[in-house]
Symmetry: C2
Subunit: 284 residues, 2 copies
DNA sequence: CAACTTGTCTGACTGAGGTCAGATAGATTG
DNA sequence: CAATCTATCTGACCTCAGTCAGACAAGTTG
């Protein structure tokens, strides 16, 4: 029986040899690979230069040069951002958009050719396997960052949380004027918040986990328990011996997860009108 | 519901962003990536230069230069093959073998770090998904080549076939002095024959599929039916209207496959002492 | 054994990909 | 408003990766 790591390494070799070419399908349209990738990354909506730099992990000088060469070929226009004229935004020109379509097409053709020898049933198996692998690999590479509890990343993530509560609670949800917790963690994947949660002191040696949320598309990938473990670590570092949390009966997945994580039901400890269930766990 | 192609393309993006780094783990040991890959490919047992060329898909001049640079660093020795002194074989020196170990270690560490955030169950799911994807991707990218029926590739593949018959038949198997068929197809993956089969005229408009074999590790991936379809095409191109084949009752997987492919049982049409069952299919 | 084929090597050259050290223009802050 | 910081750009430079043409030695064939 092979270990996950052996399977992963074996797959990696298979993959780079055979599917890796999907990327190189960008070649042959008269553009070097990195320029083609850049066109792909700018996309139909355009993107900020700094944004591109971080997404592609390129040196600022190098990226600048790539953009200049795309401009010379009339594929891209770069314009200053009106709000902050130091920043610039790259947008595809009409011919750039045509090129993007060709790139998409080629990549699709190649994918098509790759699965062509498989029967319908095998394709379905492959789809399912790759879909599972995709979710798990994404889940494994989500980065958990502690952010400023009053900053924009925290606010944006909390927005998703409040919006979901509002959708799920029969009478809607009114966050009022929320006070930021002592510490706030955001889980990000591809630049988007996919989960979040805060920790706040509510008594001597007692921390509370607040505003914990996981994007619905990401549930079942273990992200919730990972985040919860992380938040318990944050609480422990802050000197708490116990963590508590409250929740609403509607949020059944969350409740199941708290129980799996070793939380036990306790009496009401606050006057949160939306809370119906209360949990506690002693930190090791 | 996403199509296989969409899933594949999505996975490809996830993958190149996150696992693609497994390869670059070869960097940082003072060797450029291609040299490191070459050391990896030479492996502990050494490898022929031509073999390396085809496995890595490199230009002969480029490969030669890479080998020279590894020789200069005392990582590799290249020696002529005693049987054919044009051919040369690359072998790792002791320090080359140490380097290979370091490369393996790094790649393993990286894979380990990647799966570390997953729970045991998730890792098992990932293993299974990647294993399935690996088999299917390999099966999809096997290349079917028509080779010289009397050449070395055909002989090597047939050797596997005869060896398996010898293992499986109660009284063993004696191929005698086999005459090469009119046409022979070998399916190759990573330079190894994984399946083969020949077509021979045995009457006016009648072709026979002979010596068809699929590597046991590859059964269940649809390779057999794909090869059979290919051989039927070869027979049709040769002007045959019907294909026949004979087989032994021991080879139950093969028999099931012939039936699935639309073959029907017929009377004995030859005096092959090992054959017990006879099939026929009309070509469209 | 002459003519060919095959396997590897050498030399000359190219472009992609990337780094680093400033320069410059716009924003922010005391 | 001077000083500082930030986002981007320019110029100089370097290595890696790869191609192509041809040389050459060893093997094969008529």
């Amino acid at each position: 029986m092979l270990s996950t790591i052996q399977v992963l390494r074996r797959f990696n070799r298979t993959y780079t040899q055979r599917i890796g070419v999907l990327d190189e399908s960008f070649l042959g349209l008269g553009l070097p690979l990195s320029s083609a990738r850049l066109v792909f990354e700018i996309g139909a909506e355009g993107a900020g230069v700094g944004d591109l730099r971080s997404r592609l992990g390129l040196d600022s000088g190098y990226l600048s040069r790539l953009l200049r060469s795309l401009e010379e070929r009339d594929l891209v226009t770069v314009e200053p951002d009106p709000a902050d004229r130091r920043r610039r935004t790259a947008i595809l020109s009409p011919s750039g958009r045509r090129l993007l379509e060709q790139l998409e097409q080629r990549s699709e053709d190649l994918a098509h050719r790759l699965v062509a020898p498989l029967t319908e049933r095998q394709r379905a198996r492959l789809s399912e396997a790759l879909g599972t692998a995709d979710l798990l690999v994404r889940a494994a590479t989500v980065s958990l960052d502690e952010v400023d509890p009053a900053g924009s990343r925290a606010t944006a993530a909390m927005g998703h949380y409040f919006a979901e509560l509002d959708r799920r609670f029969p009478g809607g949800f009114d966050p009022g004027a929320p006070t930021p917790p002592d510490s706030f963690t955001v889980a990000t994947s591809d630049g988007r918040p996919v989960a979040c949660g805060g920790v706040q002191q509510i008594g001597a040696g007692i921390g509370e986990v607040k505003r914990m949320w996981v994007d619905p598309a990401w549930r079942g990938a273990g992200l919730g328990s990972r985040l919860l473990r992380h938040l318990e670590g944050v609480a422990a570092d802050a000197g708490h011996r116990v963590v508590r949390l409250d929740t609403n009966g509607t949020l059944s997945e969350a409740i199941a997860m708290y129980e799996r994580a070793g939380y036990t039901s306790i009496e009401r400890y606050n006057d949160n009108p939306y809370a119906e269930l209360f949990f506690e766990k002693a930190l090791p």
